[in-house]
């Protein structure tokens, strides 16, 4: 079981958290201005990278907050977590990830 570090509460076991999909996909300010294809991209198309993935997690059985994490999809290990609204940290895959 992974240990996930909530930016508000600290390190907690994985079972306290719920996954929330890819991070940094902002809802368009005016959806009606988007073409169907643009709207479909927003709704469905995700990067699904091999390597570092910025994703949303919610500390549902803790503080209840959504936050973001960088996780290596190869090793399944978290590189870092950060508060919602903060920019994606400038980290590359080789610089961390060990438990």
């Amino acid at each position: 079981m992974l240990i996930i570090t909530c930016p508000w509460c600290g390190a907690r076991p994985e079972v306290e958290f719920r996954y929330g999909g890819e991070a940094h996909i902002a809802r368009p300010a005016d959806p009606s201005a988007l073409t169907d294809q643009e709207w479909a991209d927003f709704l469905y198309n995700r990067t699904n990278p091999k390597g570092l993935h910025a994703e949303r997690w919610r500390h549902i059985h803790g503080c209840g907050r959504y936050f973001n994490a960088l996780r290596d999809t190869v090793s399944d290990f978290f590189v870092t977590t950060y508060k919602a609204g903060e920019p994606r940290p400038d980290i590359d895959a080789s610089s961390g990830g060990n438990p």
Binding site: L2, R58, P99
Partner: protein
């Protein structure tokens, strides 16, 4: 019975503590400290089971957890019966009762053995080839027969009366395995002050040292050093010693699962202790000191009872004082055979010959064997063994350049074999570490780590007692240091071989890393010789070769095709020999063939330990409303809705005292609501209090409806969409004040809706000043429905004008009921005049009882969820999740009126603008009336235009709700039908297995279509 095969003295058994036990109904004796296996061997019993597929007689192969054959059922009573226990791990206690398995009618005569004669027809892959025809025969015939014939143990049918507990533990260094490497590692870590847990699957800590009779450490006998070291460790506050504890799973971030067997070894376990304890250990650092497993040699008839691994025979003699026989022939590819020969000879076993696969036989151990007068034969193989229920002779032959010479038969009652040792890399591999083939060691060894762990001793190919101790000590020191430094090693680092800060003086035989993998040559007709690779799954070298001939190249394919390594022992004794055979057959080096993945559990683990306390009433949380007990006292039948228990219906005693069935009860309840008044516990509805200056704006964005103009004191039916435009939830919402909404959700949807709202509030619109609070548990909700509803509640309410004019349909008022503050809704899910009384849950039952008493003069009828469903279906009110399935738009579900067309945006709005979302052939909510009013359709049934149309018959939709309506005196149904609204008036068909049912498509409102009854 006497222990005929017991040595005169020695071993770690307590000869002053004799024990009596039963095996297959016969009484035997053993000693405290015996395993079931060692005690049976001391009694001369080797026949212990029948093999899985061919039902061949089988004996003990090993002395440890790698044992593939000796699976027994140990039962204290009918409920406490554990199948498939390895007799080599079952500790003897007074009165122990064990049964062999997989035989009928008896172990020595087994009807299933006919499979052995039929073996030419049961080749590898026979599952895939033989049982495919005719269609359906697998389920009806082959599978039950094969299961009955093959199945391993039988699980008890009674509930398990034992307790299982689950512990969480944290430590600096977890050491897995208490052999010399693990002991030294634990010592080193403990001396540096680290918090250490040392676990071992055996009853006694010590590993291979427990079988030593001549080795010395630091000038002491190895067993004395062991005792002193364990005393040292046990005396430290920072060390936890866990014998009988298997590290069975290595999970991410150094979470190691340990299974501790607490009471199985006790004659009278009592009730104070759990049977087993699951330890979930989160370790900063892990030292894996899992040792090595001896490999069998693959030669014909190597599965006869009495054919054992050589080092296991040595363990039986040295540790348990049990001789595996009187005359042994040894077949070896390494010095382990000689070490066993010398120790067994010292124990009084005649060693008839040592056949050594190697041409060059040199070194200390062979020299000592020769000096002891043992007949040592280099370049010699065993090509067969005789003896059906116990080996009686071995056939030896010289091998020269691969050619097998004439055979010589030597009488014996046991054959001991050794193909060398395989490092136990199971846990390392489970940790996702990369294994690396080491050509010199002839083994896969731990390579690059993923987790914070290191291996020590034999499990990483280190051999020789002194070097193993020093390696263990070095890894223990390094682990303790790493746990202190909390240093994160660069990812993918291979831990450097550490140098210990202290040396160990040890004197013991070093077996080196010599050995053999594959099948040894035998020169016999390959079609008739059975040389076993995997004992438990009955896989022979011939089967592996067949798989390669049929095109299998990857070891993963060979494994699945032949089932080798797929039994409960996961191929502990067989995997490497399989690789060797495939490697030779394909003329491909071993590392190119790959290695199958090791998965948890290391050894079979009980379900009980996983379940722990989560069984029976505490398996899952149970949610009950404040009114639950009243309903139970009034005879309600309950149904599960999520974790809730909800009153389903309230059966009453009918004529002649017979209780109503559901149909009768629901018919009565429905009529009562329509004719007079009924009451319903709606407390399970999800409730969310939405408060803040931006509450109305937030509601506007989350729901399809327009909220800005909704006045305080009004209710509105709200529809929530997902961003993809499909209906997610619905519920009645009350505006309590300009900045406060009382939102209700479906019973099952409450957590999902709150999470959905939180998601948008926290991540999309953090600027909105709104607070969301779940209030589901805070309110009891009592629905009072029917023409008499107002008259029932009127005398109880204070501070609210209940008149039609002051309090029309779809309003909310605050006041008191019996002095209890209430939010009173004028709302209906039945189509009748109705109220929902929200009161704090602590008053729920009292208010319910008061309403019930006040309604008595109107014959107020409590009703359950079934009646609620029928009443709402009569009105065409949908239930999200029943009429909708996640692909329905509001318009599909007849809720287009609830969408605020003028709103610029709300969640899901953009998706509704896609063309496909308004296509005329979308499935739309309609009503169905069967031509025969007595026929009630099946929910989920498909709807077609013409059931006799060519297959595939175009499907138009399906029935979503279907009931008998007592009030209407006929069946009614709701359905989602393609272009349904345009089909109103048409006849369609609902095909069933035997016939098709004719239905008419109608408007989905069956009762009071104008809604005149709502206002009473």
């Amino acid at each position: 019975m006497t222990n005929r095969f017991r040595t005169a003295s020695g071993g770690r058994i307590d000869r002053a503590a004799p024990l009596s036990f039963r095996f297959d109904g016969q009484t035997y004796s053993g000693f405290a400290g015996d395993t079931l296996a060692s005690a049976l061997i001391a009694n001369g019993v080797h026949l212990i089971g029948r093999s899985f597929k061919y039902h061949r007689p089988r004996g003990f192969l090993s002395a440890g957890s790698d044992e593939p054959n000796a699976l027994v059922n140990v039962a204290r009573d009918a409920a406490r019966a554990a199948p498939n226990l390895r007799a080599t791990q079952v500790e003897l206690h007074e009165g122990l009762k064990a049964q062999s398995q997989n035989r009928w009618p008896s172990l020595s005569f087994d009807a299933g053995a006919v499979n052995d004669l039929a073996s030419p027809f049961l080749p590898s892959g026979f599952y895939y080839k033989t049982f495919m025809w005719p269609a359906g025969a697998w389920k009806r015939f082959y599978e039950p027969k094969i299961r009955a014939m093959a199945g391993l143990g039988v699980a008890p049918e009674l509930p398990d009366p034992d307790r299982y507990t689950q512990n969480h533990a944290h430590c600096d260094v977890l050491v897995v395995g208490a052999g010399p490497a693990g002991l030294a590692a634990a010592l080193a870590a403990a001396e540096s002050g680290a918090k250490v847990i040392l676990c071992d699957e055996q009853a006694e800590l010590g590993g291979s040292l427990l079988s030593e009779i001549s080795a010395t450490i630091e000038g002491q006998k190895a067993t004395d050093w062991l005792a002193a070291t364990l005393a040292n460790l046990a005396g430290r506050d920072n060390v936890t010693l866990l014998p009988r504890t298997t590290a069975f799973g290595y999970f991410p971030h150094n979470l190691i699962a340990l299974a501790e067997r607490v009471t199985d070894h006790l004659a009278t376990p009592g009730t104070a202790l759990p049977r087993e304890r699951l330890w979930q250990v989160r370790a900063r650092e892990v030292v894996i000191a899992a040792g090595a497993l001896e490999r069998p040699l693959v030669f014909p008839d190597n599965d006869r009872p009495g054919v054992l691994l050589a080092d296991s025979a040595r363990t039986y003699a040295n540790r348990y004082g049990a001789k595996v026989g009187e005359r042994a022939v040894i077949f070896t590819a390494c010095d382990a055979g000689y070490r066993a020969a010398l120790d067994l000879k010292a124990a009084g076993v005649t060693i008839s010959a040592i056949a050594d696969l190697r041409a060059e036989v040199s070194g200390e151990l062979p020299a000592r064997a020769l000096a002891a007068g043992i007949d040592v034969r280099p370049s010699t193989v065993l090509v067969g063994a005789k003896g059906r229920l116990r080996v009686s002779s071995a056939q030896l032959a010289k091998v020269k350049n691969g050619a097998v010479g004439p055979t010589e038969t030597i009488a014996c009652d046991s054959v001991l074999m050794s193909g060398g040792f395989t490092p136990s890399v199971h846990l390392f591999s489970q940790s996702r570490g990369k294994l690396v083939w080491d050509g010199a060691a002839g083994a896969y060894l731990p390579g690059t780590s993923v987790e914070r762990e290191r291996s020590a001793g034999a499990c990483r190919g280190v051999h020789g007692l002194q070097r193993v101790l020093e390696d263990g000590y070095a890894q223990g020191e390094a682990a303790a240091k790493a746990s202190r430094d909390h240093a994160s090693p660069a990812r993918g680092a291979t831990p450097a071989p550490a140098t210990p800060s202290r040396a160990f003086a040890a004197n013991a035989e070093d077996l080196g890393s010599a050995g053999f993998i594959g099948a040894t040559p035998h020169g016999r007709n390959p079609a008739l010789a059975k040389a076993f690779v995997d004992w438990q799954n009955d896989v022979t070298s011939k089967d592996i070769l067949l798989a390669t001939r049929e095109g299998m190249r990857s070891i993963e394919h060979v494994k699945r095709y032949t089932t080798t390594g797929m039994a409960t022992d996961q191929g502990k004794t067989s995997n490497m020999n399989t690789l060797g055979i495939v490697s030779e057959a394909l003329d491909t080096p071993v590392p190119k063939i790959g290695l199958t993945t090791f998965r948890p559990p290391f050894t079979p683990t009980t379900f009980g330990i996983f379940a722990g306390a989560a069984r029976g009433d505490v398996f899952d949380p149970l949610r009950k409303t404040a009114i639950h007990d009243w309903a139970a006292e009034h005879g309600a039948a309950f149904e599960d809705v999520g974790n809730w228990k909800r009153a389903h219906y309230f059966p009453r005693a009918g004529e002649g005292g017979r209780m109503e069935d559901m149909h009768a009860a629901v018919a009565r309840e429905c009529k009562a609501v329509r004719a007079s008044v009924g009451m319903f516990d709606a407390s399970t509805l999800g409730k969310i209090e939405i408060v803040g200056p931006d509450a109305a704006e937030f509601m506007n964005r989350m729901y399809t409806n327009a909220w800005a103009k909704l006045e305080p004191g009004r209710l509105r039916y709200g529809v929530m969409l997902r961003e993809d435009g499909f209906v997610m939830d619905d519920g009645v919402v009350g505006r309590m004040a300009a900045d406060r909404f009382h939102v209700t959700t479906t019973t099952g949807g409450a957590p999902r809706v709150l999470a959905h709202m939180e998601d948008y509030l926290q991540t999309e619109w953090p600027d909105l000043d709104v607070w969301l609070t779940s209030t589901t548990e805070q309110w009891s909700v009592i629905a009072v429905q029917g023409p008499k509803a107002r008259e029932v509640i009127a005398p109880l309410i204070e501070g609210i004008d209940l008149s039609k004019e002051a309090f029309p349909h779809m309003c909310v008022r605050e006041g008191t009921i019996l002095g209890v503050p209430t939010r009173l809704f004028s709302v209906s899910f039945t189509g009748e005049l109705g109220f929902e009384i929200n009161v704090p849950s602590t008053y729920g039952r009292a208010v319910w009882e008061a309403v019930y008493a006040a309604g008595e003069r109107f014959g107020i009828t409590p009703y359950g969820t079934e009646t609620m469903h029928v009443l709402r279906a009569e009105k065409g009110y949908i239930i999200v999740g029943q009429e909708t399935d996640g692909t329905a738009t509001p318009d599909d579900a007849n809720l287009g009126w609830a969408v605020g067309k003028a709103k610029k945006d709300f969640v899901g709005k953009r998706s509704l603008a896609r063309d496909a979302m308004s296509a005329p052939d979308r499935r739309q909510l309609v009503g169905l009336k069967t031509t025969d009013p007595k026929v009630v359709l099946e929910e989920g049934a498909q709807i077609v235009a013409d059931p006799s149309a060519p297959v595939p018959v175009p499907m138009l939709g399906f029935v979503t709700s279907s009931y008998h309506s007592a009030v209407l005196g006929r069946s009614i149904a709701l359905a989602m039908v393609k272009g349904g609204r345009a089909r109103i008036g048409q006849k369609l068909m609902v095909p069933m297995p035997t016939h098709a049912i004719e239905v008419e498509v109608v408007e989905p409102v069956f009762y009071d279509p104008k809604g005149e009854r709502l206002n009473g």
